[in-house]
Point group: C3
Chain length 260, copies 3
Amino acid sequence: MHHPQAASRTDAAQATSDILVRLRARAPRVHCVTNAVAQSFTANVLLAVGCVPSMTLSVEEIGSFVSGAQALLVNLGTFDAERRQATAIALEAATTNKVPWALDPVFVERSEARAAFARELIARRPAVVRLNHAEFATLADAVPSRDATMSYARSNRTVVAVSGETDLITDGQRIASISNGHPLMSKVSAMGCAGSAVLAACLAVETDALRAAIAGLAIIGVAGELAAERSSGPGSFAAAIIDAVHDLEPATLIARTRIN
Amino acid sequence: MHHPQAASRTDAAQATSDILVRLRARAPRVHCVTNAVAQSFTANVLLAVGCVPSMTLSVEEIGSFVSGAQALLVNLGTFDAERRQATAIALEAATTNKVPWALDPVFVERSEARAAFARELIARRPAVVRLNHAEFATLADAVPSRDATMSYARSNRTVVAVSGETDLITDGQRIASISNGHPLMSKVSAMGCAGSAVLAACLAVETDALRAAIAGLAIIGVAGELAAERSSGPGSFAAAIIDAVHDLEPATLIARTRIN
Amino acid sequence: MHHPQAASRTDAAQATSDILVRLRARAPRVHCVTNAVAQSFTANVLLAVGCVPSMTLSVEEIGSFVSGAQALLVNLGTFDAERRQATAIALEAATTNKVPWALDPVFVERSEARAAFARELIARRPAVVRLNHAEFATLADAVPSRDATMSYARSNRTVVAVSGETDLITDGQRIASISNGHPLMSKVSAMGCAGSAVLAACLAVETDALRAAIAGLAIIGVAGELAAERSSGPGSFAAAIIDAVHDLEPATLIARTRIN
């Protein structure tokens, strides 16, 4: 992390490992407002990392589910009336109960209505916004350079995590890059959504949202690398990455996290 | 099973095996009102055991789907308006056509509205209520001891199957315990839901609901043990248990069922 | 293909291989209106074959998603109000923007309302209708013989692809049969739906809908055969067929396609 107060590379990797250990020890419940395509895979990745997933979207229930959760993910992957309504109630419960939340504004570049809704949500101060290059470009009206992401994080008072070949994570003051992951990750549906859920889970055990975001992306990225070594294509990879998340050793995570 | 009229341990294992053989021979259709997270995994487990799954929740269709089915599962995993309405129609069709049904009151401990709905459904006399300790405690207001489960079964005139490290199954007169299964089963989303679907399937080929419930839990539990031997984590385990259900030999099932 | 103008067996296999190569080169986006059980598996199969899946059903978004897509699949697997409405908007966008589409009228034999809706959709001229024997019998009121399928294709001015142990594909003038596939394919939920999605994808890169339908069925059938060689049951098979689709070599596809 390039900043006077920033921890060293080793410290950041150690912090990531500590977060993983706390996830397994505390088993936080992570409520996910996510798209139908992603629900099952996301739940299995959260279970594998040691969390308890919950997924209900029912307007009668989601308030109490979120109130009792330790973190919340809002993913816009299927932007329907049910999920918009669920999101409104979920955010009210999260705000009242100080439940940290992450936003994954999936596919905002494909629909202006979705982008407008994402902007409203960002104004409600997610701890982290996690998105890819095209999504960042749509919301920030800029290429996701180091300067542009830091500026966007500052003006929206949130942590921004832009994923790509190298992930950029910034709170507007500090900035880090992570170069973990594997090309097969882009060949599995809902891999990004599941990664955002892990990131949200990290918020449950780490109050420094920048640290939590780094940990979430490093955990899923390193697991992806390990899984690729044991896979023969995207189908076996989808199972192998769940195995890898489940079996991930803190020492391996420290050794393999490529953070700058 | 501890009761004067109860069959011996060997007889119970044999009955379980007979039920598996009948499932494969008759390929009953099992309609599932289940949560979005569980639908795909549940369908694949039902296919693997030899059944035909159907899953529609559409109010225009579910009546005719249930009327022609051989068993019904009602799972409360996502308790939304669509599923509540679908459940009402499904139960009317099941009652009229004498389609046996099982109830899985998922997460009733997390929402009073859900618990109230579960109580209404239990009053409509499912053949089996399958639930875990926390769910039983919420609905029965008691720890799931042998006495408490038998009492609850008697007063609700249903078979109660409480799953845990040891499963307890009782119709209020007879009681059995099953000690099959593997810890990885709790690391796969929808594993319990899929197990309840197998249990519902057994009701399609066995009129003694206690026997059917025992068979359902034994089949999935033994398959879980076999799958764990071939897995390297929860991701590969989720695929391996489907393979194991599909390949389960009656002789293996008899040999490995740990029933008391 | 038995017709004076029909290409030879070798030409048809070569055309299939060319379509696969174009899919990977162009990475078309395929929008799917499909059932909840099938969404995740379908998305993963489309990713494996080189496409970009999109799945939203939101009435506010689906129009713009379909307008920008290269092909559309309409699958009736869960025939609810949301999907009926989504289908209406999707077809309007497809017609306006000349996006080719395929129809998979799942389970029309189980519900008259569903069959009636399927007939309305067929009147709107899908490029291909892909269905099984029971579904064809319901819609065409005839056993799917070569004559009956050709006649149905002619009178509905569409390509008909009837899947079974041998698939029949006809545009009313030309007819071909494909004998690829493996029995395990019928043991995986949504396998047919995913196959129809691959078929729809082929329409994105091949204007001859008969050729596209043949390619779609051959690709998934050959992948199924290859996957079966590496599987130990339907669970591992579901992952292995995704691997096989992803790794399918054009030369292997040509060598193994059994077309007549």
